[in-house]
């Protein structure tokens, strides 16, 4: 019964956004969720950024396709078979490459000449590292295009790694602020004459030096041409999270720092009137239940050491259970699903185990 609501989200939503702080196993959880969703839907897409190598191997991807990113890749029938996906269901994986998506936005919006000019500036080559929120913004650009195209029954979005889980939701505001930060208006063609009359750029030029000043200016002038398009998308994005067909779920671990992060996310989402619809507590330690009869052949010293280790594990398990209890008490209205710490060596098994713990039905 307790798993009903995650089932419900999988069955009823068009898009599930998986968020959480660093190191909680967000990508594996998103992939496991997408895998589980192939039991309900025919066409599922999971969008991720910088997927772990092991996970990529489990999906049967080459290193090259990972580096390129680009359009979603359909899982081969061989990979599907290994993962236990029904032959008539399809799972695609989209690996987000912000440069690729931005390239698309630019070629749709700017003339060839403008695009060339923009991409030639040193600042553009630094853009993906320097502009906060670009990864998140491009993830959204991509997902909305996929939803509009209607190619998939369900899209699971693994949010890009960030300092805080909530950073993803701040992106519309941040990008909007950036585009509205008048530095772009300063260089917007129609306003330039007015501004030039009021202020002088000579201070900036003196400070930055001639070359950097002109680089910056050319970059900003051209980038400003993307402004309207990006602003319009930011408005859509703000509304996207609250749409009925979109669900936001959070991944945490029993670690206190991860739970602190979860509280922060929940608080933040409430303020924004975005509803958190589920919590997955990942990497939950399991009891080891060592059978000491097996170990009778070992010497006393080694047996004692094993018992000591067993005690350590028991402590970890108790700590995790306490943390989960607290989490359930704190979010009485949310379903808190747990997924065990997986000690499997290969990606296939990890994905299948994760999918099974999130959606406990045999494949």
């Amino acid at each position: 019964m307790s798993k009903n609501s995650l089932h419900k989200l999988i069955s009823e939503k068009r898009c599930i956004i998986v968020c959480g702080g660093g190191g909680v196993g967000k990508t594996t959880t998103a992939a496991g969720l997408a895998l589980a969703a192939t039991r309900v839907h025919k066409k599922v897409l999971v969008v991720t950024i910088d997927p772990a190598k092991r996970l990529a191997e489990a999906f049967g991807f080459s290193q090259k396709s990972l580096e390129l990113g680009g359009e979603p890749i359909l899982l081969s029938s061989e990979a599907k078979q290994k993962l236990g996906i029904a032959p008539d269901a399809a799972l695609s994986v989209g690996i987000l490459n912000p440069k690729y998506v931005l390239q698309q936005v630019i070629s749709q919006t700017l003339s060839q000449e403008q695009a060339d000019r923009l991409q030639k500036t040193i600042l553009y080559t630094q853009l993906s590292e320097m502009v906060y929120g670009l990864q998140e913004y491009t993830a959204y650009e991509w997902v909305t295009r996929m939803i509009q195209n209607g190619d998939y029954d369900l899209i699971v979005l693994d949010t890009p790694p960030s300092f805080h889980a909530k950073d993803f939701f701040l992106v519309p505001d941040k990008v909007k602020n950036l585009m509205e930060s008048r530095v772009f208006q300063l260089f917007a063609p129609k306003k330039r004459s007015w501004f030039s009359a009021v202020m002088s750029f000579s201070w900036i030029e003196k400070l930055l030096g001639h070359k950097l000043y002109h680089e910056s200016r050319m970059f900003l002038e051209t980038f400003a041409l993307l402004r309207d398009r990006i602003l319009e998308r930011c408005d859509l994005l703000s509304r996207f999270f609250t749409q009925h067909e979109v669900a936001v779920i959070a991944v945490s671990t029993p670690e206190s720092s991860a739970m602190f992060e979860l509280d922060g996310l929940d608080h933040f989402l409430r303020e924004r009137k975005i509803q958190l619809e589920g919590v997955i507590v990942n990497q939950v330690e399991q009891t080891n239940s060592m059978d000491l009869e097996d170990l009778n052949t070992l010497n006393d010293d080694l047996q004692a050491k094993l018992k000591q280790l067993e005690l350590h594990q028991q402590k970890r398990v108790e700590k995790a259970q306490l943390s989960i209890q607290k989490c359930r008490a704190r979010y009485p209205l949310l379903e808190v699903v747990t997924a065990p710490m997986v000690y499997e060596p290969d990606g296939f098994t990890i994905l299948k185990q994760t999918a099974n713990s999130l959606y406990p039905l045999p494949f």
Binding site: G21, G22, Q126, F163, F201, K211, F260, M290, Q308, Y343
Partner: protein, 304 residues
């Protein structure tokens, strides 16, 4: 527990440089480590500065939380005996720089009061990092501090800060900004006084990411002090004992030993991979490292 060696020769605290850049991916316990190291350094009697980058989303600082505060302030302030803290801010750095450049703060105020210039500094890529860079430089120059510990939230920040001087110097090799960038480089590249510490966990993916991070730091000429292998599980076995258990485990159908052995195996593998690449310090797994008085000193050098 082993008694604490008073010389701390093999502890991480005993090997800290004057400038310490604590880096690593999210979830590896980097902030906790930065806080415990700062506490331990101050306890040794060193005048210590703990610094972090301003998080402009206005969220409470998880570093300041350890010291019972919501945030650190933008000027260094005392938070404990021998221990100061500061929150590095891009806009403060920009203002301080302009002050130095324009000599008179009244002119700075006028320039910053000019919306056009303010917007330019806020919005143009690289200028924000430049602000952090300058604010940090101010602290590094303060000789009162014998030990500076900087907690760098995302790996991108450290690489961004490290790369900034090179990128900008290409565009403007001379001028007031170039001077400051070169001054900053003289601190960052100096092996004698600076070290970046890459925090990671004994699991295969975090280890790979740590090695990648170390390589890119080395490429940017930032001296790396070594890896800190955090939350290392208790491992009482000798190599021979591990071999015995390993063979038992593979024979046993139930694999009941698996979790414990897998944990130990991962630790061994992480130690090996990391120590092949650089020096490794091991931080033991514990409930609440910050509350443990001696934890900072228990982070010990790994010897293969």
């Amino acid at each position: 527990m082993t008694p604490i060696d008073h010389s701390h020769a093999d502890s991480l605290v005993g090997n800290l440089k004057r400038i310490n850049l604590i880096s690593g991916k999210g979830g590896v316990g980097r902030t906790t480590l930065a806080a415990t190291l700062a506490k331990a350094s101050a306890k040794q009697g060193k005048r210590t500065l703990l610094a972090e980058l301003e998080d402009d989303s206005g969220w409470d600082s998880s570093l300041a939380r350890y010291f019972g505060r919501k945030h650190f302030q933008i000027e260094p302030h005392e938070i404990d005996k021998n221990l100061h803290a500061v929150c590095l801010s891009a806009s403060v750095g920009q203002e301080k720089f302009l002050n130095g450049f324009l000599k008179l703060s009244s002119i700075t105020q006028m320039v910053l009061g000019n919306q056009g210039i303010k917007w330019f500094l806020d919005g143009a890529p690289a200028f924000k990092e430049m602000g952090y860079f300058y604010h940090l430089l101010q602290q590094l120059k303060n000789t009162d501090y014998e030990c500076i510990i900087l907690d760098l939230p995302a790996t991108g920040h450290l690489i961004g800060l490290a790369r900034l001087p090179n990128v900008l110097l290409k565009m403007m090799p001379i001028g007031p900004i170039a001077e400051k960038l070169k001054e900053g480089q003289s601190y960052f590249y100096d092996k004698k006084q600076t070290a970046a510490w890459v925090v990671t966990l004994p699991q295969s993916l975090p280890v790979s990411e740590a090695i990648e991070l170390k390589d890119s730091l080395t490429k940017e000429n930032i001296p790396v002090g070594g890896y800190v292998l955090n939350r290392a599980p208790f491992n009482p076995f000798t190599t021979e004992e591990e071999a015995i258990l390993e063979s038992m485990s593979s024979k046993s159908k139930t694999h009941k030993l698996m979790i414990d052995l897998e944990r130990v195996r991962r630790l061994r593998e992480a130690e090996k991979r990391l120590s092949d690449s650089d020096q490794v310090w091991v931080a033991p797994e514990t409930d609440n490292p910050f509350e443990e008085e001696s934890f900072g000193f228990r982070v010990q050098k790994f010897t293969p």
